[in-house]
């Protein structure tokens, strides 16, 4: 008998249909991957199982969990179910933990709620649970607070809370999306081990086919609130599944780049922050976020910069854009320094633009799109007025595949992918030579990401643009860049042609990164 059997589940929120006719099942000891793009209803399916739906939600169909229909249970019975029979792990490990409670207390809380045990015993059981997620109390004390832990450790605490009572079903909603690749690989391995040890069913929700392909025995593909297809990884045949597969390993068409004169030259750049205060007047040694970095970007080249969070890649990007002064070294664009004497060189800055990661945070919500897109025109000594300005905005919007009329609308009317296009239009409007793409496609769904990569490749060939492509996602960098730099702890540890670095990595760190990157099986 299946552990979890969802039959013809329908869900509407305030009369708006979210899920329709969703059926799937999870057996004990089985890992089922649920894949879908944002808005496909994969998280809502999970929340329906827990009955943690937002207000105004109405379910129909059946959700059988260990022989009980969850939909017919009262809130009191559901409380007993949550945490005990079903555990859940969330995406954002920082916000899933209470910052004011020690990790031991948070894990013990789950136990105290469901079982009549003393605080002391609960703490012992919490220690045990943390041990099982490879956070032994000798190394990570129970009295630590979430902010003292790394992202991977926090996610392990979240996992310990979920498995403390040995639930029969574990739901993991994008459990590794917020983590670095090497940490992701460790957490996935841990999940797999726990499933084997406890014979638990695992419902693994992800947007990343690569992550799920290596883990799940069965895959459920969802789209627009419905199940498109389910089955083993190699047997997926539905056109949407194929399209999803193609998109997640998309290689945009791009002519090979020939070496030319260097456009940007970064030499021996150091960016240090003052160390933590210690004691009354003392300070720890300064932290070198960027530590003696040198490289060139040639005209028209796509250069990748990869590294895990905290390696200094964003700091480096900000230094290149002249947003932060550097302590040592030089950054020159076409022979001209980014900083001249005391300030930022406007003549250089107008030749560089940037696209940020977050499609939601990078626009002032109170400005119209036309005004947002036109903002960099401020860099020109004689910015175009009225009709000329309007024409420039229209041209920029058209070049990224939007309509000139979109300029009159506001940013909340656009989807994530459209917003990144608007961000690109904003970068293009002053016709820069170099665009820094700081995780510019990381927050996008695979199919939207593929379109965006095509657009970037097309613009680069048409307008002769040079990209500095910063990302933690190695598979994307591999497909779109000519050359790649690998950064670790503020230093560049490896540099070379992309194909060469990926096929024959020389530095051990690069090898670790590549080995940890989830890849789709070739047979798919």
């Amino acid at each position: 008998m299946s552990l979890l059997r969802i039959e013809a589940l329908g869900l509407s929120i305030h009369g708006h249909e979210v899920l329709r006719d969703v059926s799937l099942h999870v057996d004990p000891g089985e890992i089922v991957g649920v894949i879908g793009e944002s808005g496909s209803g994969k998280s809502m399916t999970a929340l329906s199982v827990m009955q943690l739906l937002p207000r105004g939600a109405r379910c129909e169909g059946r959700v059988m969990l260990a022989g009980q229909d969850v939909l017919s249970l009262r809130e009191r019975a559901l409380c007993g179910l949550r945490g005990q029979a079903v555990g859940m792990v969330f995406q954002e490990p920082m916000s899933a933990l209470n910052p004011l409670q020690t990790i031991g207390a948070q894990v013990a809380e789950t136990i105290l709620i469901h079982e009549r045990v003393g605080r002391r015993e609960a703490m012992m059981r919490a220690a045990e649970a943390l041990e099982r997620v490879e956070l032994p109390p000798e190394r990570v004390a129970l009295s630590r607070y979430p902010h003292e832990l790394s992202g991977g450790q926090r996610q392990r605490v979240g996992l310990a809370m979920a498995i403390a009572l040995r639930p029969r079903l574990l739901i993991a909603d994008e459990p590794t999306t917020a983590l670095d690749v090497t940490t992701q690989a460790e957490v996935l391995k841990l999940l797999k081990r726990l499933v084997q040890e406890d014979g638990m069913g695992l419902m693994l929700i992800s947007h990343d086919l690569g992550v799920v392909a290596g883990m799940a025995e069965r895959i459920v593909i969802m789209r627009q609130g419905r199940v498109v297809e389910q089955g083993r990884f190699g047997t997926l045949a539905h056109p949407y599944s194929r399209a999803l597969l193609e998109a997640s390993d998309h290689v945009p068409a791009r002519p090979a780049h020939e070496g030319q004169a260097p456009l940007l030259r970064v030499s021996e750049v150091v960016r240090a922050y003052p160390g933590k205060r210690s004691g009354w007047r003392g300070r720890a040694a300064p932290v070198r976020a960027v530590d003696g970095v040198s490289f060139d970007i040639r005209q028209g080249e796509n250069l990748g910069l990869v590294g895990e969070s905290g390696c200094g890649k964003s700091t480096l990007a900000r230094a290149i854009l002249g947003l932060e002064p550097v302590e040592d070294g030089r950054i020159e664009l076409d022979g001209q320094p980014v900083f001249d004497g005391h300030g930022v060189n406007r003549a250089v800055r107008r030749r560089m633009q940037v696209v940020f990661q977050d499609p939601y945070g990078s626009f002032n919500p109170r400005w119209s799109v036309a005004r947002l897109v036109a903002e960099p025109l401020y860099l020109l000594d004689d910015p175009p007025k009225d009709a000329a300005r309007k024409a420039a905005v229209a041209e920029a919007l058209t070049s990224v595949g939007l309509k000139p009329e979109d300029g009159a609308r506001y940013i909340h009317e656009f989807s994530g992918g459209q917003r990144q296009r608007i961000a690109l239009a904003r970068a293009l409007i002053i016709r820069p030579d170099l665009i820094v793409l700081d995780e510019a496609v990381s927050a996008l769904d695979v199919s939207i990401r593929a379109q965006m990569l095509d657009l970037l490749a097309d613009l680069s060939t048409r307008l002769g643009l040079t990209y500095l492509f910063i990302s933690h996602d190695l598979s994307v960098v591999r497909n779109v860049t000519d050359r790649v730099l690998v950064m670790q702890d503020g230093r560049i540890v490896e540099e070379g042609a992309t194909a060469q670095v990926f096929e024959a990595p020389r530095h051990p760190y690069t090898r670790r990164l590549i080995a940890a990157t989830p890849r789709l099986p070739v047979s798919a």
């Binding site: 207000r55 947003l323 560089m352 940037v354 940020f356 945070g361 025109l377």
Partner: protein, 272 residues
Amino acid sequence: MSRTGLILGAVLTLLFTGAAILSLVWVPYDIEAMRIAERMQPPGAAHPLGTDHFGRDILSMIMVGARTSIAVALVAVGIGMGLGVPLGLLAAARRGGWLDEIIMRGNDLIFAFPSLLIAVMITAVFGAGAVNAIIAIGIFNIPVFARLARGAALSLWTRDFVLAARVAGKGRLRISAEHILPNLANLLIVQGTIQFSLGILAEAGLSYVGLGAQPPIPSWGRMLADSQTMISMAPHMALFPGLAILLTVLGLNLMGDGLRDWLDPRLRRDAR
């Protein structure tokens, strides 16, 4: 619930501002004419809210008094907002610098004194009067708005759209004006409403002790003070100005809370 509060608050606020505006062109009785024969009349047909110890019509006095209260509070909040918000924005733009330090420690200094005490001091030095009351109340509104603006601006400064504006070569002051300030507007409107009600209370307090608007300009606080000795003979003389203060402050607070819930999408749960 919050919608009811908002509507009730708005109605009360409109009632009193309406009365104040109406008093500019028409009041039932001339408030400067004393009619000793009609003094201390209880509420009746001729005088709906009764008369005071000089035979003046209390309804007319409250209407003109609303004008004083609203004018004093409005200008005081204007001073607080007009100086406090730019200072807060400046401090946020120069976070951690000496300017930030000076502005915020200056604010702490003002905060450290009980506001009424300083108001008493100001009026003792410069004389009692509506203008000095405005200045005294206004000064105490500056740190409130400065802190609010700085706190909210700091979180906005970390947003990517601010970074994008910096990439577009804009300076800190321009970013503060173009990007930060419009995103603070909701917050400032709400706080402004609440400070406005506090201003009315402060004005009433100052004129109660005789440091606000001077006779013959009527003011709610002084009406209360005047009625004090006659409370057993003519309780209506204290009741109606007291109610006026209470209802105005209540209305403004309800409106402030309602506006906050209404303008903040995170608190607007039951929008549909």
